[in-house]
């Protein structure tokens, strides 16, 4: 490691004050501190020792928690593809196909995002923050598998600049950066990010293997199927089963829980989201209150919907869908575990986290069931609650201040 250290030391004068690349000092520091934890020592006054955990370690913990969802997503994309083409692919074929679709998106997300981030760090002379380690992965995982790469790049730039840097960078953003990227695509290029056709077709594979998808195949997401059933009046569970029989994709509760359904890269598997949740909660990185609140809120709202969907009431079938189906469909689990818990954009008081989490769950179900324009509710619910979170905190903080004031009078 001495070699690498020497390499950095050799470059150092160029980046110091008066050096030819002085402006890029922050990039030098950023890379050096990734290779080597810095040799900074504590100040002469105040805490003389510091906790061994830094922000880099916190962030990498989140990345590790995302890996199960990423790996499963890669496999599932291959799986969905071979269902679409009607042939049974081997495990390895599925994995290779999935990797060929996902890795370019991941690379574009990281490359474009980091380039944007570095540009801002150099202009503002800020240290490079490790926040994008997580954001880069999240952006890739909420993309549909066959999204054009230029759209990924555009969304990433939009999210980093408008979502984060204009507010002052890491730690200052109001909205979750990855959700901002997805929302941007959702409203700017709706054709490529929703609908029935984006989940399993692949020009890439077609050109490689010369096997187009079966005619008339619909790779609709479970949420789309549910939404359609609310229009034609079939009970949702029945519609899911019918769809299953017609196209081979298994929309049973168990299959949806496992994640063998079409959807964005990382969102389909509730199981993998839960594995991530266990990692995040056990390491203390994410708030269990937000996660439990999110799932609980969605389930309770599902039950409320059920209660209003009794016999003789003229309501859409989506309302009558068993409440626990909400928890495994779409991106709810992924969103609640990885998006809602982003500490910067979430509520920051402990009571606030409960309220924030529960409302995300509740809102997701309301948007799904009652809003014809948006089959998926979690994205809008998280973004909306990001905006509301400071308000929730405001009242929790105000209660704290009031307690202090009341104390004075007694």
């Amino acid at each position: 490691m001495k070699l690498l250290q020497n390499l950095f030391d050799g470059m150092k004068p160029n980046f110091e004050k008066g050096g030819k690349w002085e402006k890029f000092h922050t990039l030098y520091e950023g890379h050096r501190t990734i290779a080597f934890a810095p040799d900074l020592i504590t100040k002469s006054k105040g805490a003389q020792i510091k906790d061994a955990t830094d922000l880099k370690r916190v962030m990498i913990t989140v990345v590790i928690a995302l890996i199960p969802a990423l790996l499963f997503g890669i496999l599932n994309i291959g799986h969905q593809h071979f269902i679409a083409t009607g042939e049974g692919g081997a495990f390895l074929d599925k994995a290779i196909f999935g990797a060929l679709s996902v890795l370019p998106i991941l690379i574009v997300s990281y490359a474009v995002g980091l380039a944007t981030e570095f540009t801002f760090c150099v202009i503002r002379n800020h240290p490079i923050s490790e926040g994008y380690l997580v954001t880069g992965m999240l952006i890739a995982l909420v993309m549909p598998p066959f999204i054009p790469l230029w759209q990924v790049a555009l969304a990433t730039i939009f999210a980093v600049v408008i979502g984060k840097e204009v507010f002052g960078g890491t730690g200052m953003n109001i909205l979750n950066v990855a959700m901002t990227a997805r929302a941007f695509l959702y409203f700017a290029y709706p054709a490529q990010i929703s609908g029935d056709l984006v989940w399993t077709s692949s020009e890439l594979w077609s050109s490689l293997a010369d096997k187009p998808a079966l005619d008339g195949f619909s790779g609709a997401t479970a949420l789309a199927v549910a939404y359609n059933s609310s229009i034609d009046g079939t009970p949702v569970v029945e519609a899911l089963t019918t769809h299953n029989a017609a196209f081979g994709a298994d929309y049973s509760f168990m299959s949806m829980f496992m994640g063998w359904i079409p959807g964005s890269i990382g969102e389909t598997s509730t199981l993998m989201a839960l594995v991530g949740a266990v990692i995040l909660v056990a390491t203390g990185v994410a708030s269990w209150k937000i996660i439990v609140g999110g799932f609980g809120g969605a389930y309770i709202m599902g039950l409320v919907m059920n209660a209003f969907a009794g016999e003789g009431m003229d309501v859409n079938q989506f309302m009558a869908m068993p409440a626990h189906y909400h928890l495994v469909m779409g991106g709810l689990a992924f969103g609640v575990v990885f998006m809602a818990t982003d500490p910067v954009s979430a509520a920051q008081t402990e009571l606030g986290k409960w309220i924030y989490g529960i409302l995300i769950g509740v809102l997701t179900v309301i948007i799904r069931v009652t809003n014809p324009a948006y089959p998926e509710g979690i994205m809008l619910a998280v973004l909306f609650m990001n905006v509301v979170a400071p308000l929730i905190d405001h009242y929790v903080v105000k209660a704290n201040k009031t307690r202090r004031l009341q104390r004075a009078t007694v």
Partner: protein, 449 residues
């Protein structure tokens, strides 16, 4: 009514280098210093002696022109050898070369039957007064104030801290006299807060004139700020005083014998301290004689006080006025390959983030002064709250100070905390912000605006 408070929030830092409970023999310190920088409230320090003057223990050598009834006295008898000033003639140290045997300035025992004002005036002129700290703000108390209560913490939960009952051995009579004197100064009660997890120590047993409360739980249960919050919290406009247990007995000795006795028992601690144990010396001692036998002191950090709230001093530096501990640990000036990623069970961490297994490993940790990362904006939420056993929202308080929002600072509880109350927050902060400095900055904003 005495109160029993059990706290859950907090964190005990278990470190290598505890001092065994015994007095050890080391070469006696010969020079001593009073450092105005030890007293954050001093505004216009004025030196009352010149280089070359001889003084007795108790001779006034310093005062604050903003509160000139309180004097700061020489801890030993001897000769003023240096008045050290820094940039812009800022007064740094008044150094005294001690006589071989200390002779005291004698003013005669104090009659506690006198009225409050006279009593306060005499204590202020004696040298023992700077032991009395005012909350809010953590500054030397103003003798003209009548505090609503006085708080004394009878135990110290800081890392490797000196055992209070041990350093007060045989001082029970003085301690009681100190409590009696303090009881005269307040309109309310004197609270003596003892460690609820242990049997009440001999020196505190049967104490009269004070309400004895029991606190138990992890650090900062022994911090007087935590205790005040749970007994009789400070609101805007309130004034309370705090005195360390050592300070109480020093005041008591003045009451009974009429002398300013600055002798104190201090703990020599830390993984790199060559001889660990307790030594008897005086306030402001030069630490070099305690460090005998330490090789390569430049690779080490010598700390006056404990590792959370202490101050770095040179190897021939002086013990802080309020400190009764010297800690020596390694400096951490090294780069570590992928240090932010490597799993480790031997690095002390409050967190359980990826690869940090210290929570699984029991026992004591060896620590150094490495910062373990660079400074970052606040990102992670809910961490400070886990180590703050008060109904205070630390993150919001810190942000209010950063933005210099005076109303918010007041409303969020800046009157209730000083540096030591947020020291644990500073330790656990993954964003490595200097929170103790920040709190002092906020306090200064409130005090002087």
């Amino acid at each position: 009514m005495s109160k029993i408070v059990k706290l859950k929030k907090g964190f005990d830092l278990k470190l290598v280098g505890k001092a065994p409970l015994e007095l050890i023999q080391v070469a006696a310190a010969t020079t001593f210093a009073i450092k105005p920088t030890d007293f954050p409230g001093i505004q216009r320090p004025k030196v009352l002696v010149n280089e070359g003057d001889t003084v007795k223990a108790g001779t006034p050598i310093l005062l604050d022109k903003a509160m000139d009834q309180v004097i700061y006295a020489s801890p030993v008898s001897g000769e003023i050898v240096e008045i050290k000033r820094g940039d812009k003639r800022k007064l740094l140290e008044i150094k005294i070369l001690a006589d071989s045997s200390v002779s005291h300035l004698k003013v005669g025992a104090l009659d506690l039957g006198q009225d409050r004002a006279t009593l306060a005036e005499k204590l202020a002129a004696s040298g023992v007064w700077p032991n009395i700290i005012q909350r809010p703000f953590g500054i030397v108390a103003n003798p003209a104030d009548s505090p609503k209560a006085i708080f004394v913490s009878g135990f110290d939960t800081h890392p490797l801290a000196a055992e209070v009952p041990f350093i007060l051995q045989g001082e029970g009579r003085y301690f009681q006299a100190g409590i009696d004197a303090l009881a005269k100064l307040t309109t309310g009660k004197v609270h003596l807060n003892v460690d609820g997890a242990k049997q009440v120590d001999e020196v505190f047993a049967g104490i009269k004139n004070a309400q004895v409360n029991q606190f138990s739980g992890p650090h900062p249960a022994g911090n007087v700020g935590t205790q005040i919050h749970h007994l009789d919290p400070i609101n805007k406009g309130d004034i309370a005083w705090t005195v360390s247990a050592y300070g109480v007995s020093q005041i008591g000795k003045f009451v009974l014998e009429g002398i300013y006795d600055a002798s104190k028992v201090i703990a020599l601690t830390g993984s790199e301290m060559s001889q660990k144990g307790y030594v008897k010396t005086y306030t402001g001692a030069n630490v070099s004689s305690f460090l005998g036998g330490i090789a390569q002191p430049e690779t080490l950090r010598i700390i006056s006080g404990n590792v959370l709230t202490g101050e770095k001093i040179e190897k021939d530096g002086y013990l802080g006025f309020y400190h009764n501990q010297v800690t020596v640990i390694p400096e951490g000036k090294y780069e570590e390959f992928l240090g932010w990623l490597k799993p480790s069970a031997s690095k002390l961490s409050f967190h359980k983030a990826l690869g940090m297994f210290s929570f699984l490993k029991g026992g004591e940790f060896k620590v150094d002064t490495n910062n373990h990362g660079e400074e970052r904006p606040f990102v992670v939420s809910g961490v400070f709250e886990k180590v703050m056993p008060m109904d205070i929202l630390p993150t919001y308080l810190f942000k209010a100070i950063v933005t210099e929002d005076f109303d918010e600072m007041e409303e969020l509880g800046l009157y209730e905390v000083i540096e030591e109350d947020v020291a644990l927050c500073e330790f656990v902060d993954p964003s490595k912000n200097e929170l103790q400095n920040l709190v002092r900055h906020g306090i200064e904003l409130l005090m002087y605006n």
